[in-house]
Symmetry: C2
Subunit: 300 residues, 2 copies
């Protein structure tokens, strides 16, 4: 007997759903539009939108008179200024939680805080976020030991929305003894928190855990990192990457998916695993139950 379980809150979050909806509306209204960088970090979804006339460009110089969609991670202020001057329709699909973090960054800079950004310096959300900061800042990713030795009167922390709360706790604890005032903007998205915790709990019970989502997706990679501390973990983008050997001697199989992973890919993976592990008589029932991703067991 094998069991397969999908972690709670797997798949699209609010911000991604909203961005995709705005892109699909733009495709209908304008026939064709650009996104600056991938609208979300999922190549399959980007390809899908591409087929509807939504094209990814990586440089604002490539814009013409077609509308531009600001992707879920936002864009730097200096790019926004240029776009605003171009007299083209702008569809802002920046996740509202990401915009909130940008606002905190602006505010903390204006109020003279020494700013510590917890996030990946190469991620578009952080590249955009830092453009909102007046003054200096430090970016802390996994380099806690590189914190400056000096004491600060006022320091502020702002987090990448897909960061992990244990990393935030570590940074806070490291900074606390060095400051008179520490202002923590806990901009880690609550859906991220719930998904990460559900994935950790599922990983503890699983003999193997499959993480589904873009290889370029920060939040998906974080799920794989967290899970691999507890069980054998594979990060895949699509069902095609699955190896049947992964499921030998694994009575309990866990599945989780990042915030930018579309339902159809999760269902594909689920389907493929059932095909491998055996009796799929409950298949129809299972697929029907996937949307909403309740943490329920399916037995085969």
């Amino acid at each position: 007997m094998k069991q397969i379980k999908i972690a709670k809150n797997s798949g699209f979050c609010f911000g991604v759903k909203r961005a995709i909806k705005l892109a699909e509306e733009a495709a209908q209204s304008y026939k064709s539009a650009f996104t600056l960088g991938p609208i979300i970090h999922n190549p399959q979804m980007v390809d899908h939108l591409n087929s509807k006339g939504i094209f990814e460009i990586d440089n604002i110089d490539q814009l013409d008179d077609r509308p531009v969609i600001i992707r879920s991670h936002g864009v730097p202020l200096y790019e926004l200024d240029i776009i605003n001057n171009k007299n083209i329709p702008i569809i802002d699909a920046t996740c509202p939680y990401v915009s909130k973090a940008f606002e905190y960054a602006r505010k903390a800079g204006e109020e003279g805080y020494e700013i510590f950004i917890l996030g990946n310096p190469d991620h578009p959300e952080i590249i955009a976020l830092k453009s909102y900061i007046k003054g200096d800042f430090f970016i802390i990713n996994d380099n806690l030991e590189s914190l400056p030795e000096t004491r600060f009167a006022k320091a502020a922390i702002i987090c990448q929305t897909t960061q992990n709360s244990q990393n935030l706790e570590q940074l806070v604890n490291a900074l606390l003894p060095k400051v008179n005032e520490l202002r923590v903007f806990n901009t880690i998205c609550n859906a991220t928190n719930i998904r990460q915790n559900a994935t950790i709990e599922l990983a503890k019970k699983s003999d193997v855990l499959i993480v589904i989502g873009g290889k370029n997706s920060s939040n998906t990679k974080m799920l794989a990192t967290l899970s691999s501390a507890y069980t054998k973990t594979y990060h895949i983008e699509t069902a095609e990457e699955i190896c049947s050997q992964w499921f030998e001697n694994t009575p309990f199989i866990g599945l989780t998916a990042g915030a930018s992973t579309p339902d159809w890919i999760i269902i594909d993976v689920y389907n493929k695993i059932i095909e491998i592990v055996g009796n799929n008589s409950n298949f129809a029932k299972c697929v029907e139950e996937i949307p909403g991703y309740k943490e329920e067991s399916y037995e085969f």
Copy 2:
């Protein structure tokens, strides 16, 4: 061979030294003055000042036309208002670090933060501090489990100046997942931090550790609590409380003293221990070396 070591930063801190100096100046200028409650939490020092004409009262109704000294822990705003209306000289011996915490409390209240005070609700510093807060607040002492279940948009933490940084870390970590913004005013006095850390390090090496200071002194009691996690610990106010049995089979003896413990009491205790543990040929040298409380070893 026995070794005796005094923890770094034992004894008077800046705020206590300043309060005593102001009280002694008042004794000279005015011959007699009142303090509202003990000026510092050390009964022996209070007795000493009493002999110079500085009298402790516990109620503002007992004031006459003599000057009043505001003690190092401060007084509540409503008492300060009454005193200000009495037309008598006021000598403000509130520790400047405590005043800073009061200011943060006022500011956090005005800016609409949900306030968490980390401290002892019965301590005069906290009784005074809470009078500066506009709005509601929670006092957290060792009751972390009583934190409210609700989420907060904005929360602020303010600490009793003699609190322990591990307790602050615990409170911060417990609140972080519940808030969008957490503003930590780390008002734990730096001298407190250094003294606590030095005491912990010394306790780890000692076979017995003697904590010297007022039984009513928060910071002294905290030293005893911290030390007792590592070694047999006795909290005494004066040399008279020492038992010779405490030093049987204790090759390494540690001493520490609270921020409100006068030098003469530390020297008395030191003297008494040397008398008990044996050869005191180095006594003169040792006493000479006590002021400054460098962490050095003395061998007998």
